[in-house]
Amino acid sequence: MDEPQRVAAADRSGDRSDAVVDFDGFVVTRSPALMRTAWLLTGDWQLAEDLLQTALAKAYLAWHRIGPGREEAYVRRVLVTTYSTWWRRRWRGELPTEHLPETAVDDPDTELRSVVLAALAELPRRQRATVVLRYYCDLSEAETAETLGCTVGTVKSQAAKGLARLRSSGLAAAVNEGTPR
């Protein structure tokens, strides 16, 4: 019996222990990376955790249907889809003061982080998600299209628009400041 059949059988029999172990193992190994992706999408750790929990909860309900090796792609897709349609939250594109990392005020990474988040916040959610998937998660255009549920052409268009928008923000200057050329 292969893995999907084993998980499905465990679920149908009422004994979800194997499926739970599979899910827990996935969360242990992949949640930090997914949490960082969620943070780039939302700009706030509290929202990121909430978003990731929601995505994991939805994925858990379908866990027995997800093929082996497809778990992260599935959770990432649910994460991005939930983010795209998620507007109950009061998203202002700013880090609440209490969530600022405790680093030195003149830490260049902190300053760059603020500039990056501010620039990303100006993008519509779909563009923002495309930029994060392409340039942080390093997904190919085809993988990004599958995650977003759109065509490769749309991915190219959204990525180009997002990059153009980021170029017109202060991000270029902040990125190149101190970068030897």
């Binding site: 929990q53 889809t81 982080r113």
Partner: protein, 297 residues
């Protein structure tokens, strides 16, 4: 012409963007690792259980509610008003009688809700907010656009006009196909959003608060609103130019004295992609969904 005062930074390349994103993202804070990743899995399973219970409960409630509403609203509506079908021509101009099911008339202070609650704008909005429940479409499913009806000239409209909705809230438009145009930021460059001016039209019989929220329903996509005259939080004299996820009105909107049958609120909507969109309008004692197609420029 004044020469630039400093060197122009090189353009942002894809490599620059990749590097800055990877450089920017911090480690997950220790305060967010409470219970460890095992705790995260446990909380996700708990939330999954709540989702499962909510889905099962909603199915029963929606079925029962739909039957009750159909009986309560359907018969009086058929007798008193003719609402054209989707895409069909609007009927003759009609004077507005209070829509069947609309809350009773009166000033906000006289309204039943305000007799028991403070009527500050934020509290009105908090009092009418209901769980968001927008329809979702299966792939290939047709956009279930709202009907269009004709109104007699009123409340700023110089002649008879068409509006989309089932009442008591509508948006003025000749059909549910809304032709969007590229939105510009105040500085001039295109923002990546599509926009269209909208006038929200409200049965004059309803004068309570309104809360509007919307989203695309045939795929991922966002809808935002312009805050303009009468909107909660709006103070600028020329439209704040920002794109807000919610739009609220605490009192009756702009309207003319006399026999006008509707109130009207000028605004605008923004979407990031063409598609099928829904707007949920919450009010005192009702929640209505407006569905329309946002068409590409």
């Amino acid at each position: 012409m004044t020469p630039p005062t400093g060197p122009t930074p090189p353009p942002l390349t894809e490599q620059d963007l990749r590097r800055s994103l990877h450089q920017t993202v911090p480690d997950v804070p220790a305060s967010r690792r409470r219970g460890g990743t095992t705790g995260l899995a446990e909380r996700a399973r708990e939330r999954a259980g709540r989702i499962r219970r909510r889905r099962r409960g909603a199915l029963g409630v929606v079925s029962t509610a739909a039957l009750v509403v159909a009986v309560a609203v359907g018969v009086p509506t058929l007798l008193s008003d003719r609402i054209p079908g989707v895409g069909g021509p609007a009927g003759p101009a009609v004077s507005i009688a209070p829509s069947a099911g609309a809350p009773s008339a009166g000033t906000p202070e006289e309204h039943g809700w305000c007799r028991e609650n403070p009527c500050t704008p934020a509290e009105v909005v908090a009092g009418i907010r209901k769980p968001l429940d927008l329809p979702t479409l299966a792939p290939g499913e047709a956009c279930p656009v709202s009907p269009t009806r004709r109104f007699a000239a009123a409340a700023g409209f110089t002649g008879a006009f068409d509006a989309v909705g089932s009442g008591p809230v509508y948006f003025a438009s000749s059909s549910a196909d809304v032709h969007m145009t590229p939105a510009k930021d105040r500085a001039g460059p295109e923002s990546g959003w599509l926009e269209q001016k909208v006038i929200w039209v409200v049965d004059r019989s309803y004068v309570g608060g309104l809360l509007l929220r919307g989203s695309r329903i045939d795929g991922p996509g966002e809808l935002r609103f312009l805050h303009y005259l009468g909107a909660v939080g709006y103070t600028d004299g020329a439209g704040d130019g920002k794109r807000h996820p919610e739009l609220a009105y605490a009192r009756g909107g702009l309207s003319r004295a006399g026999a006008d049958s509707v109130s009207s609120y000028p605004s605008a909507i923004f979407v990031d992609e063409p598609g099928c969109y829904a707007v949920q309008v919450d009010g005192v004692g009702f929640s209505e969904t407006l569905v329309f197609r946002a068409l590409a420029p």
